[in-house]
Symmetry: C2
Subunit: 308 residues, 2 copies
């Protein structure tokens, strides 16, 4: 079993969907990543920042799941990062209503001493230079550094993004972002160009259409489980990344073959995340529910043609 460092936001979210709306609830990329990875009972540590307004019960919720939170800085007189969003009827598009950076504006991540030799590093969506500073704190070369990013940094910090991309092994990015980053419509060609920017493994997330993993000339596809109802998509991408990173940490195997399984686990966990608001579903998720859904993924994708 490998150690896992998770860097990203721990935050308040307020969400409105066609099914209802929430007040400020627990959110943030690192939160979703951590909860997903905790399914694998790995030693993980969240590196983040919150304000004095952040409830102790939310911190307890993380540490109760064996997530080390000594790397979560608490700024007593500061306010926690807050995001609010409104989803439209198709659940595939959303408007951001509020983004209050608050303490995140001055976030300088410090990886706890005990995790500077972690084998797996998961860099949640943040400024590329913040992500880079985490890589620089690692005392031994990780087996896999995984980076999530978004179009905002392509628009506003492209050069820095290219800088950090040179140091990573896996990038997770959505299809539109992959196209924006490369100027290529074909995801096969886009993935090849992203390889050339640094990462040997490219994971392209397509939301309800699943995810593609590219490595050299190989591709692997994990569908999203067809669901009766998507209740709240918030955190699905981070849950995917957390499942992916957690499975790699659990197995300590960063081969392409094993990453296929990591992608399947990521999709499986994400399919739970969207069933309730925010982190609710992930908080109660049990191992044998995951096992059953993995079996559904097998039924959904596995076939037996005799290739003659």
């Amino acid at each position: 079993m490998s150690k896992l460092v998770i860097v990203g936001t721990v935050a308040f979210d307020a969400i409105e969907t066609p099914f209802g709306k929430t007040d400020k609830i627990l959110g943030g990329a690192a939160t979703f990543i951590g909860l997903a990875a905790s399914q694998f009972k790995v030693d993980s540590s969240i590196v983040s920042i919150v304000g004095g307004d952040f409830p102790q019960e939310y911190l307890d919720l993380l540490s109760d799941r064996n997530i080390d939170i000594t790397g979560v800085e608490i700024v007593k007189d500061g306010k926690t990062f807050f995001w609010s969003g409104l989803y439209h009827n198709d659940m595939n598009s959303r408007d951001t209503l509020v983004t209050e950076l608050n303490v995140l504006a001055d976030f300088e991540p410090v990886v706890p001493e005990a995790y500077r030799d972690a084998e797996i590093v998961m860099l949640g969506n943040l400024h590329p230079l913040t992500q880079l500073s985490v890589i620089e704190q690692m005392t031994t070369k990780p087996k896999a550094i995984i980076l999530d990013t978004m179009n905002f940094w392509m628009d506003n910090a492209l050069e820095d993004l290219h800088k950090v991309m040179k140091h990573i092994d896996v990038i997770t990015i959505n299809d539109e972002e992959a196209r924006q980053l490369t100027g290529e419509y074909s995801l096969v060609v886009a993935a090849r160009k992203i390889h050339e920017m640094g990462p040997q493994y490219v994971v392209i997330k397509k939301g309800e259409h699943g995810a593609l993993l590219f490595h050299k000339d190989n591709a692997f596809y994990a569908p999203a489980l067809p669901l009766e109802e998507v209740f709240d998509p918030t955190g699905a991408g981070d849950t995917f990344a957390g499942g992916f990173a957690g499975y790699l940490a659990r197995t300590g195997d960063t081969s392409f073959e094993n990453m296929k399984n990591a992608v399947i686990y990521g999709s499986t966990l994400a399919s739970f995340c969207v069933e309730k608001f925010g982190t609710q579903r992930m908080e109660t998720l049990k191992a044998d529910e995951v096992r059953k859904r993995l079996q559904q993924f097998k039924n959904l994708t596995q076939f037996e043609i005799k290739l003659t």
Copy 2:
């Protein structure tokens, strides 16, 4: 091996894509279905109509592939159905430039005597009552009647569409059409509602995002092969349907398990179709090219997680 009846257009297409444009070339749903099904060396018969302007070499191209064309009516003084379309940069949207029904306006399909006991019937996109008249000509109950349709008939002949849907086993439909037909966004819920309209098997085509097969509470997903370049999408859906129907005819097995394989074959053949203009790629396609690409589909989708 079962016999296969294919009903649909045999036509002229003129296509423009970002890569180039064609004059009038061979097209039509039944043409693409027939070419795809011919990969399985089944006994198939196309039921269609063309004008006196339709070149003998196109007819020969079909009969050279062991496709019976005695059911293709030739109206000496009529003109062949003509469609012209323009694809946009993303290849997922297109404008129809010209639709000339010509002889198709008076098409009354007649299934050749020798095929009225065919086990598999593939009804290409046509007026629902035209599709229904073919079903009524069958003297023994087919193992599987497969129907393709489109939003045009939902807008203009919905009642007739519901009438023919009561008699079919499998419907192939794209995701937007499934949503339109049922008023449901979730494809899981949409498929269930379509089941209730008649067909026990629902295939939802998602273009570059693959295809889903639903049967009762079971779902199966076949991705589209990620391609470097889509040259011309014309006929991809019909090629998918032809691969699906051809495989069922070849194996004579219409179980859900075998339909999974049929969906994979459909996707495999469609991945070739888009590589060149119109029918060009399907005309030269060799069995061992298909075999190799099936292996790519296995690599793309198969994984081995030990479910403990």
